[in-house]
Amino acid sequence: METVALENPLRAGLRLGRTPEPCTMVIFGATGDLTSRKLVPALYNLARERRLPGGFSVLGFARRDWSDDFFRETLLEGVNANSRSGPAEPSLWASFAEGLFYHRSSFDDPSGYQGLAERLAAIDAERSTGGNRVFYLATPPESYAEIIGQLGAAGLNRSPNGGWTRIIVEKPFGRDLESARALNQQLLAVFDEQQVYRIDHYLGKETVQNILVLRFANSIFEPIWDRRHVDHVQITVAESIGVEDRGGYYDSSGALRDMIQNHLTQLLTLVAMEPPVAYDADAVRDEKVKVLRAIKPIAPADVARFTVRGQYGAVSVNGRPLAGYRDERGVAPDSQTETYVALKRFIDSWRWAGVPFYLRSGKALPRRVSEIAIQFKTVPTMLFADTPMHDIEANVLAIKIQPDEGITLKFGSKVPGQQQIRPVTMDFRYGTSFGVASPEAYERLLLDCMLGDGTLFTRRDEVEASWALITPIHQGWESGPPQPFPNYEAGTWGPAAADEFMARDGRAWRRL
């Protein structure tokens, strides 16, 4: 099914990688927010950067009664409002929009899929897309099973005339181990694993990819990347916004499902994995799965020791009231859903045994910031008598993912003229070192899928292994007493219990 990249002699020495084969991307749920806010702006920018071939087409599939023209207008508005390169350039947009089409159907109507097959064949003929297709599930997850089944029934899981067919599945991929397994079974009854691309947009971020470059393209970090040198690791993904208009969805999900199961677990595996034997989809994912298998599960009975939950409450900032989580639209007034979670993980491997990995994520925190901090051990003995031992801070290597992508290293330095040691940082910022704007995560991921590279997508065993670590925590929480929610004010760094949780281990959260 996968295409082999044949040698194109004109490619040698060009900095941009090869362009994918012309194909049609069918977006299910094309009238939704994701399509106009993220997907089409990403595709337009790829076209703008000359990364897409002539003939590339998009076919929107949704229930609303839209025309091709109305679809194009709506997407143009989406690009104008959301593209990182600013409003669309009219002539370039006109050329790109010639390949945008809309197909109206409900997701459960077999004739709609026959119609889809006919439209795809027509696009193949008109735009030379060679039977190559990407199906993108951008619908609410309840519709996934229906669409997958209908695609199979209509024979759209295989391409005509030697082309390829791939399917991208948006998050959330299940809500527990059981539902993730069921979704995998439904997918794999129709598609081969090689055709399936489970998206986690965190992996499309440049700094996230840079974790592997930092670790495996430098010789100075890897020798100290283990239990002998690392005291602990902190991974933070903080959001300053509340749940906004996602209240209904979020209330049935919570921070553990929404952030920890996917994004933070991905960051954890990239930091902790062994060097892969090659930089390709299976070698990298094999190593990530090994980390997941080595993570010690938190038994339902142990959740109180290894996890902290929080939910934000109303507060007034400078006289302006900020709504609490339970006041948000779509949220139950007595909701027990966590908007903040912190947990401690151990990895039972030779490299990491005994090193705690602290993960925290929350909504309505003071800043939007994501980072991974590797905290090294302190020096074994104090050489400089004038400085009290506890004044020496441990070295910290912080990998900042957003908003200012970069890497900082903290180390002790002498204060000029005094017998004093003060921590200073070496700072590397993406923005200032490379005068180029990083592409959006979706640009990278959509292009990779079209090129048939699954390295930055989640494999079946990976998604199931990560749910297997999450579900027992939910079970433990559900069997315990209700929480005294809300327990932190919007705009603070989470519940007091989270600080006590670290203090029990003699550690503290980094001030971000």
């Binding site: 020495g13 084969e21 071939p53 002539g54 006109a94 003929a125």
Partner: protein, 386 residues
């Protein structure tokens, strides 16, 4: 005997140190990063060029903060004079305070004092950083500064778009790349070479290469019979160097070799005759390729390459073309194969400033082998032309 003026190196360094202190004070406690990634030595033969170079160098700070040593030469002045100035080139942070800074030393040399410039440049280079020599304008290979610095520099950057005698200078450039003469800076330590005219070809190469990333179109690449390259005058004069490089690139990538009688010329059109490797077995498999370089009027006032057509005429006809569109900064690409619907699209092919081209070439850390191969092929054509 005239006493030549002199400039004191340690004074220059002291002035630079002072400049950094002032910058730090201006930044109001915020860290100012002196981030130097390379030494850039540039030569200007008149004040307009010197100003243009200063402008380009300031723009480079964002991507390649560097120490620039600008040799501003006035050979025609009778009075020997030698002056030096220092300045910091800073990228402003969010609050308007300098954040990342590079530095520039301008050496103003007039008349006979010019001979001293090379000896001044050497001690001003920051140790352990690559040295790049940028010689804009015609006749870079005859430049005395290149002669003096050849053993020191890691990369030489020229611009064949400004060559006065394109064919002859392109041959010279090919010889330089091959480093086929004796002296320091040859062999494995020969400086790498960059040509801004080649850098300007990047979007053309990308757009041409993209057709053949598609499986069904790739086989046609080996079947090309005819290539046409249209080019518009550079600064009012026809300059075939860049089109020869583009033709040389296709020839080197596809293994086309020039025939004995490789060249014919007719008015503003130059034809190159080549042999392409066999696609199938048998005598009929060996075929000839004609590459036609045509001087045309500029599209929307844009100099340089205006169109590239690649055609297979024998058997299934196939036609691949990239041509500047009426819309500013855009090119129209068309793939037309008999029996298939033609595929057209508009793609960006923006005009790039000298600074952007320079920055792109500075991103290269090693020798550009694709350029080397293209230049060698172009040098063969140019040699026969001259």
């Amino acid at each position: 005997m005239t006493t030549l003026p002199s400039v004191d190196i340690s004074t220059i360094e002291r002035e630079l140190g002072q400049l950094w202190k002032e910058n730090a004070a201006e930044a109001g406690g915020q860290a100012v990063t002196r981030a130097l990634t390379l030494n850039l030595v540039a030569r200007a033969s008149d004040s307009a060029t010197a100003e243009a170079i200063s402008g380009v160098v300031q723009g480079l700070t964002a991507s390649h903060p560097n120490r620039t040593v600008l040799a501003s030469l006035r050979p025609d002045d009778a009075e020997p004079r030698l002056d030096a100035f220092v300045q910091a080139n800073c990228l402003l942070g969010s609050r308007g305070a300098p954040q990342v800074c590079g530095e520039q030393i301008t050496i103003d040399a007039r008349g006979p004092a010019m001979a001293q410039v090379a000896s001044l440049v050497l001690p001003l280079l920051v140790p352990d950083l690559p040295v790049v020599l940028w010689l804009p304008g015609p006749a870079p290979f005859a430049d005395p500064l290149l002669g003096r610095l050849r053993g020191v520099i890691d990369r030489l950057i020229v611009d064949s778009r400004s060559f006065a005698d394109p064919a002859r200078e392109l041959s010279e450039m090919a010889r330089f790349e091959a480093a086929d003469h004796v002296g320091p800076g040859n062999g494995p330590h020969a400086p790498a070479l960059s040509d801004l005219a080649w850098a300007e070809l990047t979007p053309w190469r990308e757009l041409a290469a993209q057709f053949f990333d598609t499986r069904v179109l790739l086989p046609h690449l080996r079947r090309m019979d005819r290539v046409e390259i249209d080019y518009a005058p550079q600064a009012g004069r026809a300059n075939v160097a860049q089109s020869l490089l583009l033709a040389g690139w296709l020839a080197s990538c596809l293994g086309w070799t020039p025939l004995e009688d490789a060249l014919s010329q007719e008015g503003g059109t130059l034809r190159l005759h080549l042999r392409r490797p066999a696609v199938n077995v048998g005598p009929s498999a060996i075929r000839l390729v004609t590459v036609e370089l045509r001087a045309v009027p500029a599209t929307a006032g844009r100099a340089g390459i205006a169109a590239l057509h690649m055609r297979a005429l024998d058997g299934v006809t196939a036609d691949f073309s990239v041509e500047l569109a009426a819309e500013e900064g855009m090119a129209l690409t068309t793939a037309q194969v008999a029996g298939m619907t033609p595929v057209r699209r508009l793609a960006r092919c923006e005009r790039q400033s000298e600074g952007e081209l320079l920055a792109a070439e500075l991103r290269l850390l090693s020798r550009d082998r694709t350029f080397g191969a293209a230049l060698r092929a172009a040098g063969v054509f140019a040699g026969r032309l001259g």
